[in-house]
């Protein structure tokens, strides 16, 4: 149906130059729906222009391209968090491809004979051996491995910060619930990527992590044993699981991530960015820099800076030294054992849960089921559905393109910080052995403290945030302004009105500003 409409669309929307064979488009820019003063790259340049025309004659994409370059992007640092995530993902793809050329997803036992003396003669899996080879023999292999691991940590951190920004500013409201759902799915995929990658080297720590994952799968009522057996290919540790995990890590999840990111960005493109309240910004426009050259330069610059920071971390800060953990041996466990931080909250849940297990009518609900499956499901499910939950609570189903400042919706900010507080306590609880050793407090005491804190701290955080936001809101009657800019004040009906620079009112407001 849409094809039919496009084909019969008004002819003047198409670029006549391609039909007429005239170089470039002779009409004024404004007639072509172009609103700015920049010419498309390639125009008036014989070679590039020729290439552009060649493809435009065959695809008709030049008009889209020209319009795209004029697109306006709001100018605020917090809009770059998602870009950092996307750029880390590029680093992951590039370094990951390098790693696949050396990694052997194979658990066949072999004897280590490489240059790392302490492990020489040890029986290790072929997978572990290849990671050792990569780390000690392949030139720049360790650098690539460490950059890959650090990029994964940055990737998840950038996604979470991006998500927090979206949450606190209400950017998920209609029409962007769709992208919240896709974005949250991307976070889950990223966590899966992280965990599967962490588990591939077949070292002692990662093997222990898989053992726990297997037990959590086993705890699912009724289908648990079947599910665990099908997913892991038999009872743990099954010989084929590393190669299965490898396929998941390098094909299934990256494919899903690439697809998801593409749709995520396409929707951002279609819906246009949200923007903060500020001079000239309304619900019906976007104020910012054009894609070309302003935003492109910033994004490309940010890309290289992101790579630079990850390269610095990967080059100077050791991460996941599998040779210190040693190969996976099913009857050995490392202590203290810590997962990557983004799994820490789940580890904390498992650690602090009391040993309660119910058997009713011959059906046992295994202890890990509630902390390992139900509570993560509720936490993530609740966050995932948040746009709809909030719309239900507030009854606000209107479109929003202007963002709230976090304090403008105190209860939302408080809820967001409260949820973050839960995760903070859970992450600390996941490191209770390390913290206990560091503070000289018995782990048992610490666990009890965390069991209390996980309920108390989020509530305290909720009320503190709520109070701070309300306080900020009360002082917020001061005009939103920047030096030399236009001063706006919110009026009773929720709109904005301009305050003239020299009016007594504005001066009074200025004076009242903190």
């Amino acid at each position: 149906m849409s094809g039919g409409v496009a084909a019969s669309g008004p002819a003047d929307e198409r670029v006549p130059s391609s039909d007429a064979g005239v170089p470039g488009d002779a009409r004024p820019l404004a007639d072509r729906g172009v609103t700015g003063g920049y010419a498309a790259p390639g125009e008036n340049i014989p070679i590039v222009g020729g290439a552009v025309r060649f493809f435009d004659e065959r695809t008709g994409l030049a008009t889209f391209g020209r319009n795209a370059l004029q697109k306006v992007f709001p100018d605020h640092w917090s809009f770059l968090l998602g870009e950092v995530a996307a750029f880390s993902f590029v680093v992951l793809l590039l370094t990951g491809t390098f790693l696949t050329l050396f990694f052997r997803p194979d658990t066949t036992p072999t004897t280590y004979a490489g240059p790392y003396v302490p492990l020489r003669g040890a029986t290790v899996s072929s997978a572990f051996d290849s990671v050792m080879q990569l780390s000690f023999v392949v030139r720049a292999g360790l650098l690539m491995r460490q950059i890959h691991h650090w990029a994964a940590l940055i990737f998840v951190a950038a996604i979470v910060t991006h998500l927090a920004r979206i949450f606190l500013t209400g950017a998920f409201r209609r029409p962007r619930e769709v992208n919240w759902i896709i974005g949250f799915g991307l976070l889950l995929l990223a966590l899966g990527e992280g965990f599967s990658g962490y588990s591939l080297p077949d070292d002692l720590l990662s093997g222990t992590g898989l053992r726990i994952a297997y037990s959590a799968a086993l705890s699912i009522p009724f289908i648990g044993p079947w599910f665990a057996s099908l997913f892991f290919g038999g009872a743990f540790p099954s010989a084929g699981f590393i190669s299965r995990l490898f396929v998941i890590h390098v094909m299934l999840l990256p494919g899903a991530l690439i697809g998801g990111i593409s749709i995520h960005l396409l929707i951002v493109w279609l819906q246009k960015h949200t923007q903060y309240k500020g001079p000239g910004a309304t619900e019906h426009n976007v104020v910012g820099l054009r894609l070309w050259p302003g935003q492109t330069f910033r994004s490309v610059g940010l890309f290289f800076l992101t790579v630079a920071v990850i390269a610095l971390l990967g080059g100077l800060f050791q991460i996941n030294p599998v040779w210190e953990y040693g190969p996976f041996v099913p009857y050995t466990a490392a202590s203290p054992a810590q997962p990557d931080y983004y799994i820490g909250w789940l580890e904390g849940l498992l650690r602090m849960a009391p040993g309660w297990q119910v058997t009713l009518f011959g059906v046992t609900i295994p202890e890990p089921f509630v902390p390992g499956v139900v509570i993560p499901g509720l936490l993530f499910g609740g966050l995932w559905a948040w746009p709809f939950i909030e719309a239900r609570i507030t009854g606000d189903h209107r479109e929003h393109h202007l963002l709230d400042w976090p304090w403008e919706a105190p209860w939302r900010a408080a809820t967001g910080v409260g949820i973050a507080a839960i995760f903070v306590v859970l992450m600390l609880a996941g490191a209770n052995d390390v913290i206990g050793a560091w503070l000289g407090i018995p782990v048992e005491t610490l666990t009890v403290v965390f069991r209390v804190l996980v309920f108390v701290f989020p509530v305290v955080a909720w009320f503190v945030t709520y109070g701070l936001a309300r306080g900020r809101l009360r002082r917020g009657s001061a005009p939103i302004s920047r030096p030399g800019g236009i001063a706006l004040r919110r009026n009773a009906s929720g709109g904005f009105e301009e305050i003239h620079e020299r009016s007594a009112e504005a001066i009074a407001h200025r004076a009242g500003e903190p």
């Binding site: 029409p175 890309f303 630079a308 080059g315 466990a333 202590s335 650690r351 849960a353 011959g362 052995d433």
Partner: protein, 311 residues
């Protein structure tokens, strides 16, 4: 539409006019050019230096720093360029409704589509059968899924321990009672299954008079030698820590704690059931054999553990 000048409060300079080569630069522009040029030079030098360091077999740290400089110089240069040498004037773009008013043409097409759909929408029986066909296909798709792993069967209920299994150490040699001091602990396996994840067992020697096992299990622990499954009943980690003073086993993963003297009942942490005890017998030659397998499933719990099914 170009937004009002100076909307963002930045000092204004008109970049939109035709730039002529050789036009005198302002001093800020000149300074910015020098900075950007210097940053790009950093990338250039660092990139070549990285290649040289690599070729002479340089180490990870130096390569990391050079890589950082290479990317950082380029990134910083481009950012400075965008901030200082490109127009930073904010512009405004109108937002169009996400769902535009349908054109007459689109409405006509929709009508035509509705008409065409009638040949489909009225066939209720066929639509029902179509869903049935999809359900059948779904069932057929289970075939590759079910091939992904063996049926769990009895695998979660039994281990390699049998009646008469000799108790051996990691080296595969029978464990000698005399080799284990009081409060000593050793990881053991049934002969022929050394290293087996499910059969791993801890043999612990405690003062016999301290043991408070259920009466029917006292005979399973000759002379204070008591054997418990090493697989944590919480999440399956090897229970690798033994606090001999308190006679407690602690799992390093989630700190489940088991009282060795009381039959490995969990006294702290998330584990909900005791570590299963292996019945063992001291042989005249000072070695041990198992009197049978574990009386209950080892490792983490699962839903049909007590009903004993084994799907």
């Amino acid at each position: 539409m170009i937004g009002p000048a100076g909307l963002d409060g930045r000092p204004e300079r008109d970049y939109s006019g035709p730039r002529v080569r050789g036009l005198p630069l302002t001093s800020e522009e000149y300074r910015a050019q020098v900075i950007v040029g210097a940053l790009f030079a950093v990338t250039m030098v660092a990139g070549f230096a990285l290649l040289v360091v690599y070729l002479v077999g340089g180490d990870t740290q130096v390569q990391g720093i050079l890589l950082t400089l290479a990317f950082g110089g380029l990134g910083a240069g481009i950012v400075v360029w965008s901030q200082r040498l490109l127009p930073t004037r904010l512009v405004t773009e109108d937002r169009h409704p996400l769902q535009p008013e349908p054109t007459a043409e689109a409405l006509a097409t929709a009508d035509a589509t509705r008409e065409a759909e009638a040949g489909f929408a009225r066939r209720h029986l066929l639509i029902g059968l179509l869903f049935g066909a999809f359900a059948g296909l779904g069932a057929a798709l289970l075939i590759p899924v079910l091939s992904l792993g063996p049926a769990p069967g009895r695998s979660l209920f039994v281990t390699a321990w049998r009646k008469g299994s000799r108790v051996v150490g990691i080296d595969g040699k029978p464990v000698q009672a005399s080799a284990l001091p009081i409060d000593g602990v050793v990881t053991v396996f049934p002969e022929g299954a050394v290293g087996d994840a499910m059969a791993q067992t801890l043999l612990i020697r405690v003062p016999p008079d301290l043991l408070r096992l259920p009466a029917d299990r006292m005979a399973w622990a000759p002379d204070g030698y008591v054997a418990y499954s090493k697989v944590c009943t919480h999440a399956g980690c090897p229970v690798g820590l033994y606090r001999a003073i308190e006679h407690r086993l602690i799992c390093p993963c989630h700190q489940s704690t088991f009282d060795v003297l009381d039959g490995a009942i969990p006294s702290f942490g998330p584990a909900a059931r005791p570590l299963p005890q292996l019945p063992i017998q001291l042989q005249p030659d000072g070695t041990f054999v198992a009197l049978g397998g574990f009386p209950e499933p080892v490792g983490p719990s699962f839903w049909n553990m007590t009903s004993g099914g084994g799907a």
